[in-house]
Amino acid sequence: MSDAIISVRDLHKWYSGVHALKGVSLDFRRGEALGLVGDNGAGKSTLINILSGVHRADQGEIKVEGRPVSIATPRDAMDLGIETIYQYNSMVPTMSIARNLFIGREPTRFSVLGVGILDQKKMAEESIRAIANVDLHLRSPDALVGELSGGQRQGVAIARAMHFKSKVMILDEPTNHLSVKETNKVIGFVRGLKEQGVTGVFISHNMHHVFECCDRIVAMARGEVVLDKRIEDTSIDEVHGVL
């Protein structure tokens, strides 16, 4: 599997007695848009939390670009090029777009022990470019994120991931609570990832959204992968059937 950007083997996770992941093995291929579907409690979120450094697997192996890795914190995941855009939004509403783009990774003019003076000029310039790159039209990078619509916020989150050259972008229920028009925009973002050579992992309850923008479907139930097919080899009915 030379084209696998992330491969997980035999991943297990217990939550206080509940066996949430029962030996999941999966390859995420370079430049592929993968749709991860399943009911609540099927283990999707557990798998994603492990890949994004929120939780640690109790057992199993994760390889990124062929190298075994240990992902202990969200920062580790980001440094490996895995960026996660959460359902609840990984934005701070009381801060500006420019500040949000660089949270935790602020460019500094000089720093001592990781703390330093912000390079605000660079932040302003780069945030304008980053937003334009994902085809998002916003008035100013100084606007507060709290004033943006849900779809625009997802757009900024995607712009942030693109800006930091992430290789894998995990989108956890990005179309929840969005209007039809905004949903289409987010689906457009996911399609755009492939052109940039970024692997997208799209998690959703909505089968139609997944079929609209993914190349491959992975369905999970009761902590296991129950279906793994190319989109052209399966149908919404078949996926529903195995869940």
Binding site: M91, V92, T94, R99, Q120, R139
Partner: protein
């Protein structure tokens, strides 16, 4: 123009600043010009740094999403620690260092316990309020120790500047205000503080060490409070174990009047200073305009509520102004 208007409406300290200017004008008129004369200003500016430093610490901590009720007790414990050590022959610089370390340790305990056990900082620091106050009385042995005569008052409380307008403490206050302001607005650490208080799940997900950020804010708040307490003791010349009582709520009021949000994420150092100045101005202005001084607490209370309501209203207005293009 609209852009500018919106930008200013979004400034959290605006309501406090407007109130401050209005009150200064009012008191100036009511006191027949006594309020702004040099003697009275000297009085206000001499006391301001003490409450102001505490308010700066409380404001920054509040921006990070936490709360400290123990500042008034640390305000008394720090100089008491110093006084007791100096009675035992410690030189001033070492006693100062020890006092600051004690303050930092209290801040650390406040932060560590709050985060480790995931309890509200309201509870942790309420407990610390009693504990630190009790320690203050215990170490003093019930009697305030006598301060040595050769203290470096020239560095902390001596009058300086044109017409001896300021005390040295005011310069310390300005320096701390400028440094903390820059830290909050110009450094990545400031960004982490605002992100941690603004929306902690997002901050944590983006890899910010939120626990460490909060603990540093707790420690900064305690150290500033202790330092402020020392300034007061040096000004009064005696380490009373009862100083700083009620200061915690006054500092919270100052932060809130200055636009800091109790929920975290919003606020500025300048706002905390404006809030403190307002409180000092009212305290002084009421006396000068021959109003019964017992109205002081009423005024602070009313102002706190009024400032928060005004701030909420202005933020809503700012949000309603949609910018196009």
């Amino acid at each position: 123009m609209k852009r500018l208007f919106k930008t200013y409406l979004e400034k959290p300290e605006l309501a406090g600043l407007i109130l401050l200017v209005l009150l200064i004008i009012l008191f100036q008129v009511r006191s027949h010009g006594v309020f702004l004369n040099a003697d009275n200003l000297r009085g206000i500016l001499g006391i301001l740094p003490e409450a102001g430093l505490v308010a700066i610490g409380v404001t920054i901590l509040m921006i990070s999403g936490e709360f400290d009720l123990s500042v008034g007790s640390v305000f008394a414990l720090m100089p008491m620690t110093m006084a007791v050590l100096m009675v035992h022959g410690w030189p001033f610089p070492l006693a100062l260092l020890a006092g600051l370390l004690v303050s930092a340790a209290i801040g650390f305990v406040n932060g560590y316990v709050t985060i480790r056990f995931a309890i509200p900082s309201f509870i942790t620091t309420l407990g610390m309020l009693f504990m630190a106050r009790s320690l203050t009385v215990v170490v003093s042995g019930g009697f305030p120790p006598l301060l040595p005569v050769d203290l470096p008052n020239w560095l902390f409380t001596a009058f300086v500047g044109p017409g001896n307008m300021f005390r040295m403490s005011f310069l310390w206050f300005v320096a701390v205000a400028v440094l903390t302001s820059l830290m909050l607005s110009r450094t990545n650490f400031g960004n982490w503080i605002k992100a941690t208080g603004g929306f902690m799940p997002a901050a944590a997900a983006m890899g910010i060490p939120t626990a460490r950020v909060k603990i540093v804010c707790f420690m900064l708040c305690s150290v500033l409070s202790g330092f402020a307490g020392m300034l007061q003791v040096l000004r009064l010349g005696s380490p009373l174990p009862s100083i700083g009582e009620g200061l915690e709520l006054q500092a919270v009021a100052a932060a809130v009047i200055g636009g800091a949000s109790l929920a975290g994420g919003i606020g500025t150092v300048m706002g905390g200073i404006i809030g403190t100045t307002l409180i000092r101005v009212i305290d002084n202005g009421l006396v000068l305009s021959h109003v019964d001084a017992n109205w002081f607490k009423f005024a602070i209370g009313f102002l706190t509520i009024f400032a928060v309501v005004a701030n909420a209203w202005m933020r809503k207005r700012a949000k309603a102004i949609k910018m196009e293009g």
